[in-house]
């Protein structure tokens, strides 16, 4: 313990003064008694006569000395931990993501982080020009307090911070913090987080001077990490709901999953969640109208935010597919097998008045390119690719991206291609299948048009003979179906904006959040899109746009947030690392505690006095 104002210790000279007052004769009432013998006996039996021992038995004096010494100590402004005031500028970054709601710290990780940050404020040496910035990394990085040395403002900023349901978005906050400390050799970033941070490789070479204050103790958590709704392939009348439930604890959990549709309980399943495992679960539910399925995981764990997820499920609509082909039985069969709702029309040339949901171009370059989503084999308009389109002979398939939804359950293990087009990967697209020279399948979005382009004619390859071909076509129909794209847009991450294209101009919108509060928003009548950004809380938001009612769900569904195991270090890319600090580098002023103690002693003395005189 050290003192910021050691000069105040001179006040301790008052301590002997108190003793002297006690040694001085007190004003006493003189009284003549028959004999003082009995009194002498009494005093001899109850107390020793030496003055020091007499003082020791005088509780009032002890209390007063205690009171005075506590006050003197408080005046001397003691603080703990001996490092010099670190950094002229401290950038405090508080993680406000969903995992910070975990209650393994009391009352929660976020409160603990807030308390630690307030301790850092106490230690701020504002007298020597120390300054602090408070950033809160919730759904988005928020500068709660710009650089100041005023502790009250800093405390207010920290106390006003709120935890959100969003995944960790530390990158933005650290980016801001990095610019603040750049070129300031004494500046430092203080990150208060549990370390559930996805990717910080951006800062690998930045030499971030960061102190990682880790919060969190345990990993007692299970949560929903994936939730999806699909038409049931076996029974078109029903919907299949796929859930993944992760248990990051090293003990198994017994849990129950409750599925409800529009608030009505539909199904419930008891589950055994193995330790550190992800368990899939499928519900089958019939659905009569568009609505919201909500899955609730009933389990006793430390983080409640990830125990619930909702998904907006729209009734399946028939998909109108226009196949423009000179004749391709493989493709026709594959499209027919793509799904019960797929209605395929085979034409030689796309009709301009027909408005299919998607167009499949089988090596035909139409006179007018369709406006909707396109699955194109070999055919490509000139504006898709930059540079010349070449040809490569028998390109080997070296890599494919099987994590993409288009390639789900699709493998290219024994596919040979006679000839393919060679293009440069366009900026709008993502290469799903690669040959060494050129991408072979490109998926992406041009404007509002989704495109899947295959660089070769399947008939010039062995692909149609493989089981992967019809699966790919089915995946492509699903991915290109505007309705599925639509249902995806009703799912957002907490903190992400919800966007909805407006067909007609709407003046006002009413949004009812998960907390039940309705907010009326005025819209620009010229806007073609409704954007709602205040989605920090997870749950179901219901929007009324004019006469149009719709709902969207903000879901955490984030395996990284669900894994609340506190990390000992933060990896900045592959080579840099920030270790968690446990020792506090701040000077924690503790005079408040001494002053509080002094107050307690004073109250105790008051009580003692009243007991004496009662």
């Amino acid at each position: 313990m050290k003192f910021l104002a050691p000069a105040a210790l001179w006040f301790s000279l008052a301590l002997p003064a108190v003793v002297v007052f006690y040694l001085l004769k007190r004003k006493r009432v003189t009284r003549v008694v028959a004999s003082t013998l009995l009194w002498q006996r009494f005093l001899a039996e109850t107390q020793a006569s030496a003055p020091l021992q007499r003082l020791r038995h005088n509780w009032l004096l002890v209390l007063q000395l205690l009171l005075l010494s506590l006050l003197v100590l408080a005046l001397a402004r003691p603080y703990f931990s001996g490092t010099e005031a670190t950094g002229k500028l401290m950038v405090v970054v508080i993680d406000a993501s969903a995992s910070m709601q975990a209650t393994d710290e009391t009352p929660s990780r976020f409160e603990r982080a807030r308390k630690d940050a307030l301790g850092l404020v106490d230690g701020l040496n504002s007298g020597k020009g120390g300054q602090m910035v408070v950033l809160v990394a919730g759904a988005n990085a928020e500068v709660r307090q710009s650089a100041t040395s005023e502790k009250a403002a800093l405390r207010r900023a920290i106390e006003g911070a709120k935890v959100t349901d969003s995944p960790t978005r530390l990158v933005e906050a650290l980016r801001v913090a990095e610019t603040l400390i750049r070129d300031k050799p004494e500046a430092e970033i203080h990150l208060f987080s549990d370390g559930a941070i996805p990717e910080l490789s951006e800062f690998e070479t930045k030499e971030l001077r960061m102190v990682f204050h880790r919060v969190g103790k345990g990993a007692r958590n299970a949560g929903i990490v994936a939730f999806d709704v699909k038409p049931n392939p076996e029974d078109p009348a029903k919907r299949a709901l796929f859930l993944s439930i992760a248990n990051v604890h090293d003990q198994p959990f017994e849990a129950r999953v409750e599925l409800s549709f529009e608030g009505q309980l539909v199904d419930t399943k008891a589950m055994h969640l193995d330790a550190t495992n992800t368990t899939p679960i499928v519900f089958l539910a019939s659905q009569a109208r568009d609505g919201v399925f909500t899955a609730k995981l009933v389990v006793d764990d430390d983080l409640a935010a990830d125990n619930q997820a909702s998904v907006v499920s729209l009734l399946p609509q028939p998909v109108h597919v226009q196949l423009v082909t000179k004749g391709n039985r493989f493709l026709e069969k594959a499209l027919a097998a793509a799904g019960p709702n797929v209605e395929t029309t085979v034409v030689a040339e796309p009709a301009p008045d027909a408005k299919p949901d998607l167009v499949v171009l089988d090596d035909i370059e139409p006179a007018t390119w369709p406006k909707g989503n396109v699955l194109s084999f070999r055919a490509a308009p000139t504006n898709w690719f930059e540079g010349a389109v070449g040809t490569i002979e028998s390109p080997p398939i070296v890599n494919w991206r099987n994590t993409h939804p288009l390639l789900r359950f699709v493998a290219f293990d024994s596919v040979q291609i006679a000839q393919a087009r060679a293009v440069k990967l366009p900026p709008w697209g993502l290469s799903l299948v690669d040959a060494p020279q050129s991408p072979l399948i490109v998926a992406g979005e041009v404007g509002r048009q989704r495109i899947v382009w295959v660089a070769f004619n399947p008939l010039e390859s062995t692909w149609p003979l493989r089981i992967s071909f019809p699966i790919f076509v089915a995946n492509a129909v699903e991915w290109l179906n505007p309705a599925s794209a639509k249902s995806e847009q009703f799912l957002v991450k907490p903190g992400d904006p919800f966007r909805f294209p407006l067909a007609a101009s709407v003046a006002t919108a009413n949004v009812t959040g998960p907390d039940g509060q309705t907010r009326a928003l005025a819209l620009n009548p010229l806007a073609t899109e409704f954007v709602f950004a205040d989605t920090a809380r997870q749950g179901v938001y219901r929007v009324q746009l004019g006469t149009n009612r719709l709902a969207f769900a903000a879901n955490l569904l984030d395996a990284i947030e669900t894994n609340i195991r506190p990390r000992d270090s933060l990896d900045l890319g592959r080579f840099a690392q920030v270790k968690a600090t446990t020792e506090k580098k701040a000077n924690l002023e503790s005079w408040r505690w001494f002053a509080l103690g002094a107050l307690g002693v004073m109250l105790g003395e008051w009580w003692w006095f009243h007991r004496r005189t009662a």
């Binding site: 009432v29 003189t30 009284r31 003549v32 028959a34 004999s35 009995l38 006996r41 004496r612 005189t613």
Partner: protein
């Protein structure tokens, strides 16, 4: 003598007789059995006739049978000297009622019982009367006279005078308890019953004085009289206490929360005195000056067989 003892109490006391465990050693005639041989109706022994013996006491029956001259001896009945030590120091003047008043009442009662039994009563007030303790020389002279008269009282007819003298007795000044008792023991020509009335709050202790009485052969009974204020103090706060006899100062901070501790230490003091007395065969009584007199005289003293 208006009411040092009530007439009802006096009548009760007339029926009592002081009990002495030992035979009287007095030289004066009385009504108690003694080791001395003399004239009475109680036969004691025979002895050989020597020339000059009174022929009236010859046992003629024995002379007829044995043809030898024997003299019949009878037990002489003697008086029991009762010595009453009264502490008249300044400290006895305290208390409501004053401890000294209570002591005088006890002395009157004991003396009356003794006088009714044809025993000699000697009252020894201590300390000695000093001129400085009395503002008026006439009153000092009166005290000297009173004390002289109390030195030896005998006979029931002297009871009224005895009571008057006791009533006139005044005290004051510091007392040396031990020295007074020692001198009283030495002065006594015959030993007998000794009653010590006082508060036993002498800074010099009480052991040597009581030991002197025992050593002289007295049968000692101790009556400790404490004032109610001493048993349950009523003064609280920061006090400077002045000793009435020695003038010694004692500072004390006292509150109700220490009352129990004070009572305990008083009880300890009394207990120590009691144990001292009992270990030496003395009778011990500790009373407050507000104790009903009958309670002490008719119950406690009787129960411990001082009189019956």
């Amino acid at each position: 003598m208006a009411g040092i003892l009530t007439p009802q109490l006096l009548r009760r006391l007339e029926q009592f007789q002081l009990l002495a465990a030992r035979r009287a050693k007095s030289s004066s005639k009385g009504e108690r059995r003694s080791r001395a041989r003399g004239q009475s109706v109680e036969f004691a022994d025979h002895r050989n006739y020597v020339v000059g013996d009174d022929l009236r006491y010859l046992d003629w029956n024995l002379f007829g049978r044995l043809d030898r001259l024997f003299l019949k001896l009878y037990e002489e009945e003697r008086e029991l000297p009762v010595r009453i030590f009264i502490d008249c120091s300044e400290s006895m003047m305290f208390g409501t009622p004053p401890k000294f008043d209570f002591a005088r009442q006890v002395a009157a009662a004991v003396g009356y019982v003794a006088l009714c039994g044809f025993d000699r009563v000697a009252v020894c007030p201590f300390p000695e009367a000093r001129p400085v303790d009395f503002d008026d020389p006439a009153r000092f002279n009166l005290q000297t006279a009173v004390r002289g008269a109390l030195r030896s009282v005998r006979g029931r007819k002297s009871a009224m005078q005895y009571f008057q003298n006791l009533t006139a007795l005044r005290g004051g000044g510091p007392a040396d308890f031990n020295a007074s008792l020692k001198r009283g023991a030495m002065e006594a020509r015959q030993t007998g019953l000794a009653i010590v009335l006082g508060d036993f709050l002498d800074p010099g202790g009480y052991e040597p004085g009581l030991n002197a009485l025992i050593g002289r052969g007295f049968e000692v009974n101790v009556v400790q009289i404490l004032a109610p204020e001493e048993l349950n103090p009523t003064a609280f706060g920061d006090l400077r206490l002045v000793d009435s006899e020695t003038g010694a100062l004692q500072e004390v901070t006292f509150g109700k929360f220490r009352l129990a501790a004070y009572r305990q230490s008083v009880a300890n003091y009394v207990q120590r005195l009691r144990e001292f007395c009992q270990s030496r065969g003395m009778g011990f009584f500790s009373v407050g000056s507000d104790t009903p007199l009958e309670d002490l005289l008719l119950k406690q003293l009787r129960a411990s067989e001082i009189w019956a």
